[in-house]
Symmetry: C2
Subunit: 340 residues, 2 copies
DNA sequence: TTGTTTTATCGAAACGTTTTAATATATTAT
DNA sequence: ATAATATATTAAAACGTTTCGATAAAACAA
């Protein structure tokens, strides 16, 4: 059958303990012995059996990745890219990332992902908005976890955040500097702290440049539901009818921006000549819309990598204080906001 | 510490063997004993430790999901949905799906996914086009695998296929029945058997209705690279310039169709009035393009589920003969091909 | 009745690792 | 020279399951 540590020990003329030591780079083992063992390992291309190792060490070698069902299935490739970033990073340590989705309605007794029921993960990444009972559960069970692109106000959890404020600020400032005077905001739910931050960036950019009209709130269209294309379309229609002077719309994310573009086009206005559009996220479709969407580039793979790294550090140093890491973003000027 | 099978045995006043028997529903155990044990299990909400179980059974409880890097990162949410379908199905048996990506250039010695290096999976699903050496490797190592939306001509492997031929046939026939006379085809690489089949469906629909012009090859634009938006755009531009009489374009998939739409719009032609467009796949963006794209709906989640089921059967009955399962598709008429 | 099969339970081995503690040798400090 | 420490190796226990074979009682067949 498959090659075991015994075979290695036998061929190398040492005990299995010694083989284990070189495998895990622990304790003292003479350089010459180490080399001999390593040779045998390479020759037989031996790999330790994970389940045996896990049984002995009580580690699982897995991290969970939990995302709201609607988010993973969405048009946008956002969280799937974050997931991919984690997978890339996990390769270094031979960790596996187990993805699962959760519903809005969530009862820890009923809906617990199976890798939590079976304690099959050393830690969990929660991507985007996720049921709060789930977070409480993890906290209570002392399972290491990281919130990715989310946070609970007032709670000091481990977070990977996007620099939403500065991204929004720069986007809006860019619109201002290219001559736009009446800049609107279209967004979805403020349940999501990221959206809230983007709105703050929007308002403060306006204020800095003296374009503050009631803190921009006149020009803000928000619905308290999940962001989507249709909100963007409705928002654009609504705002442009009410305030014909609007010459730019900053959308809380690219998906919404796509809807905004549709809405503007439906009104037979030209982008960017009549109205400039700016998004946030840089989802793949943004590059291919007509016109191509100006947006804030968010490095999704890197977010995933950072989430993995934090999680990994967390299990190495269990006493580590919760920390927040902020991923910076880039401004991406494309057709939808180019200078006219 | 955590609850083990010993605790259950102790509390129930039986041996651990008996507990194991009820856990796995094997052998003979008296109904009354079974009930007693089950009660204790439920009371303590005991879950067997996977790594211990795996060590004993030599099963891993994992399936691998391998997809070409470019495919998972792509604009479209196709294979990520297939993956999600597998994940859903896997919940029933508490299996885990380990996703990883591979590159075009693939050497089994170097680039083997870690779950194969470590033999951490009981089987593998290969989604879309995947390096042939990888397939050979799995075959040679006798690792159960399923090709999803792919096949190797002449080889009898386990496959989940989309009904590409009939889908394409129906799409084109639909265009014909709505009055189109000059129907073109835009596609990418024929390396992918699915594309080849879709082209066959296109040609045979033309023939059936006597629209055969040199088997439709005059009106076919194909480039031997991966399908993409830009191919669609180039194809549309090329074909419409050369054959101004063209009044409909069937694209090998939705991504390409998006490019086709851009191309047509760039030429200031109207969709569907001047030219109808039909896609294939029903990716989420198809619903939101302007105009909304008519397409062939492919049930991606179901494909994933079917792949899982086949894989699961495969490890239960290792001697099972390779089989092909075909997932049927639906016609979806939207704006881009509606009757004018 | 006796012998066979079915039902029920359990002890013990096995799965392939890691880790602890023991032992032995070599090196360094006093 | 001796004690202390650092280096090197190992035997054996432990991790939590499944499964094989043994044992025994109960049911059935002759």
């Amino acid at each position: 059958m498959a090659i075991t540590i015994k075979d290695i020990a036998g061929k190398a003329g040492v005990s299995i303990s010694t083989v284990s030591l070189v495998l895990n780079q622990k304790g003292y083992v003479a350089p010459v012995t180490k080399k001999k063992i390593q040779t045998v390992i390479d020759d037989l291309s031996y790999r330790p059996l994970h389940s045996a190792r896990k049984l002995a060490t009580k580690q699982t070698g897995n991290f969970g990745f939990i995302v709201w069902e609607g988010h993973f299935s969405e048009v946008e490739m956002f969280y799937s890219q974050v997931f991919l970033g984690m997978e890339y990073a996990a390769r270094k340590n031979d960790y596996y990332i187990l993805l699962t989705t959760v519903r809005d309605k969530f009862d820890p007794k009923e809906d617990l992902p199976r890798f939590l029921r079976y304690k099959d993960v050393d830690g969990v990444a929660l991507a985007g908005r996720v049921p709060e009972p789930l977070i409480r559960y993890l906290d209570h069970q002392q399972i290491p976890f990281v919130l990715v692109d989310y946070e609970i106000p007032g709670e000091n959890y481990n977070c990977i955040k996007i620099d939403n404020y500065n991204g929004a600020f720069r986007a809006v400032e860019n619109l201002i500097l290219s001559g736009r005077k009446h800049i609107a905001f279209v967004g979805g739910t403020f349940f999501h702290p990221s959206i809230k931050e983007r709105h703050r960036g929007y308002r403060e950019a306006l204020e800095k440049h003296g374009l503050n009209n009631n803190h921009g709130d006149n020009y803000s269209y928000c619905e308290n539901v999940e962001t989507s294309r249709s909100i963007g379309e409705k928002g654009a229609l609504h705002l442009l009818e009410k305030y014909p002077e609007i010459d730019a719309i900053f959308s809380c994310n690219d998906t919404t921006a796509m809807g905004v573009i549709s809405g503007i086009q439906r009104l037979k206005k030209k982008i960017p000549e009549d109205i400039a559009v700016f998004g946030f996220d840089d989802i793949p479709t943004a590059e291919f819309s007509t016109p191509k969407l100006s947006t804030i580039h968010v490095p999704k793979l890197e977010i995933g990598k950072e989430a993995y790294k934090l999680l990994y550090e967390l299990i190495q140093h269990p006493k580590m204080a919760p920390q927040t890491r902020i991923i910076s973003v880039d401004t991406l000027i494309r057709e939808s906001s180019s200078n006219s």
